[in-house]
Subunit: 546 residues, 2 copies
Amino acid sequence: MTMGQLSDAAAMFNDLELDRKSRIPAYVQIAAHVRNKMIGGVLKIGDRLPPNRELARRLEVHRTTVTTAYAELEADGLISSQVGRGTFVSALPAPSATTIMAGAFVRGISRRSEAAPSTGASLVAAASSSTPVKPSPMNWSAILLPVQRDRWLSGLLHSSSERDVISFAHGLPESSLFPTDDFRRSVDRVLRREGQALLQLGATSGYAPLLEFLCSNMARDGINVRPDEVLITNGCQQSLDLIRRILVGEGDEIAIEEPTYPGAISVFCSTGSRYATIPVSAAGMDLTVLEDVLMQRRPKLIYTVPTFHNPTGVTMSLSARRRLLELAVRYRVPIIEDDIYRELHYEGPMLPSLKALDQHDVVISINSFSKVGFPGLRVGWIAAPRIVVQHLNIAKQNSDLHASLLTQAAIFEFSRHGLLAKHIRKVRKEYATRRDLMIGAMEKHFPAGVRWNKPLGGMAIWVNLPEQLTAGEVLMHSAERGVVFSPGEHFFTAVQRHNSLRLCFTMASPAKIEEGVKRLGAIIKDRLSVNRKTKARRTASLRALV
Amino acid sequence: MTMGQLSDAAAMFNDLELDRKSRIPAYVQIAAHVRNKMIGGVLKIGDRLPPNRELARRLEVHRTTVTTAYAELEADGLISSQVGRGTFVSALPAPSATTIMAGAFVRGISRRSEAAPSTGASLVAAASSSTPVKPSPMNWSAILLPVQRDRWLSGLLHSSSERDVISFAHGLPESSLFPTDDFRRSVDRVLRREGQALLQLGATSGYAPLLEFLCSNMARDGINVRPDEVLITNGCQQSLDLIRRILVGEGDEIAIEEPTYPGAISVFCSTGSRYATIPVSAAGMDLTVLEDVLMQRRPKLIYTVPTFHNPTGVTMSLSARRRLLELAVRYRVPIIEDDIYRELHYEGPMLPSLKALDQHDVVISINSFSKVGFPGLRVGWIAAPRIVVQHLNIAKQNSDLHASLLTQAAIFEFSRHGLLAKHIRKVRKEYATRRDLMIGAMEKHFPAGVRWNKPLGGMAIWVNLPEQLTAGEVLMHSAERGVVFSPGEHFFTAVQRHNSLRLCFTMASPAKIEEGVKRLGAIIKDRLSVNRKTKARRTASLRALV
């Protein structure tokens, strides 16, 4: 969205369906919607908001309602007016340990339901934890580069007040399953053994015993690499960022699946970057589209999650994998294979990774301990041809010298005693059960017209709502009833009117899965019925005008 | 250096003075020199080496000697010949836990002195740990972006065989002083208390108790910031990289002190980037030059280490600090203040930081636990106006989501019980002693004409040799006698014939400081005498020719 494109600016309100019967005043709903768009990365600093009058007309509210909503946001330091030019985003909601995408939204709403605050302003302030930006002679806004993409990262619902929220939003492991005592003892052991060395600066490539361990582990999956063909990173997010640094120059194009991991969108599809999106269907990435893109646009890399794809859950067949490799080799375009969900495999044959099938050194594989182990540690790795790892090492050194030795040694010590393998066996069984429970509950509670797949592994189920509904609209209401999830738009590069959403089954207990899906089903049915009535009413009004 | 600039290519041998009396064959010295230039970032992939004939003439050796040196490097996969075009760098020495700038150099030499290997090739291979690059149909060299700067990072001399090397090369804490048991107990305590939360994904901005702790700590130094004006990073290297991401766009210029921290050069002065260097004299950054640069070139930021500057050790006076702030405010250019050495203060008044003096929100302050605590943890932080921190948060999220929670919580727990403060008191005393010992030894052993300063804090002494010597030449010989240091060229943006070097006094024991400085003094005297004789001989030959 650029300044001046008024109709575009107003388009961000397409998916706002004001709930006129809600206890939440309309102006608060509007302000929350804007905040949500800021948090979701749709609205960026410098973006223009639609004029009051235009928005009021579009939302069928009094102009004062929009003025009040904008005043709330202005008091919060998030937007500012410039005489003769319009209203612009001047800051983004402040980050904090508990401000999260869906969470911030929930918090605003749920506090409102507890007790009506004296002013709407305090409600919005509570949701954001931000206070007005201090005036600075520096005018930092003029100096800072445009924000590439806002905080898409889903944090955690830490505070106890949010314990009763049922979250399907986060593709994260269930922390109550963490073997924290085993882990603590591993850390203690390794610090006793080599504490002095672990506290000192280390090698950029990584902690040598962990590199060796990863190589023997990968060998079991058919990936034959030596330690100097591996780089330890702070997780897959950093791996993608480092790969971008060594392969994607100014003006270069990349090919990326869509929908996909939002972190990859942040890295590869920021403002000004060039990319081609390859649709993901039930069979995985569309290889016909890919071939056209490879032929015509010569991208610098192909990013794919072929196994238990995030967010759709689909797995690419063996023949499709072979075909993808052929294409990559023919057009000499590297594949970045994100294999982070591989070990979370619940049924069906386990297919070899692209890296294991690769005969031509065309695949760079990234993986991490975050899904199967502990995301808070931030330890992942890249396996690639040696010359690529040499370049990655330089990029890593320039980024942050090396990954924390304490965490590298801790996860190594924990893994080498078989404790990680044991933990994976446990969570795999538990997550399979939760997946089945969720699908059972969906079959029972979701109305006809809602569609989903059954993933053979991973952490989530991808749901498509009937086309007249948007995930944002459902989230607005489900959050009010204590159920959150990730709307589909987070996984797309461009804003559309999305009717898809992702339900993660790993973090909610079996009882919460049943209850959460039940509530979601009721809301979806309710919204379908409301939308039918609104449509009928609008058609009637139009007829009356004719 | 670009292809085709033959005289430039040959210029990298300007500082190679072959030792014709050495047990090390000339071809091995030449190959080691090339490797050193690769490790030092002078030679990059794609760079052309001078033709055999030209180099042989310049070095006054037989052409076969150069051919053999190149054959060694080719066997090692580091260079390759292209018919009709010349000889090019095709790969960089492989990273490994023990391959380091000075270290690799030392290892090659010292193994040679232990026992003559059967071929020179095995000597070079031993120093590099690299084997020929596997042929790949991908031709990665054609795809990978140019390497921005090679591995300047000095790693560690881990292996026991290097225990007898006296290292003044590394600006790192002395690990034998680490209170590893105290630290281990802190980690154990925090994992018992909140292990489950620490292993789960956290907030991008950082571990909340650590953010609070840093704020109260900074308040004692006159820096008043709130937790949402701080971002926790993986150390100062990442802080610089994140700051670059939010402030320096394609084609933007920055102002940087020279000499300076090599990691800052890597971040801000990579190929294609624009920068102005501001000389550092005994009074710190030259503010007259800075003002010219601010006025004429409008840089996006000024990077400075005003307190115990790395590598020169100088500290900017209070009046210079005020003047620098005035300039930054007048020209609206942010200052990036690297305050990493502040706590390592041995004598003289403790000056307030630029951040503490800043009345106009113009300073971004970066700091870390790496110099005063434990570099292996990789934990640092940035304090900046809130809008800057908001942007940094987004950059951090896109880089690696957040810093490891385990390490953040570990250093917090260790610090809040006063153990870090206690450790700092201990190392401050010990390092002050070592600094004094080193200066005493230099006064005793260094010949007239060598100059140095006495830093009031920090980790190193900056030494200027008589102009006819280069630090590279001295290092070549001192490494053979088991003493290493960082030659001055690592701290400059462009390759010059440097006669400066940095001697770190933190990592060598008192006895080693005395012995190492004594050996260095003997080598410097020896080289001065050899150079005088060579010059006389050359003058004589020239006269004979006339």
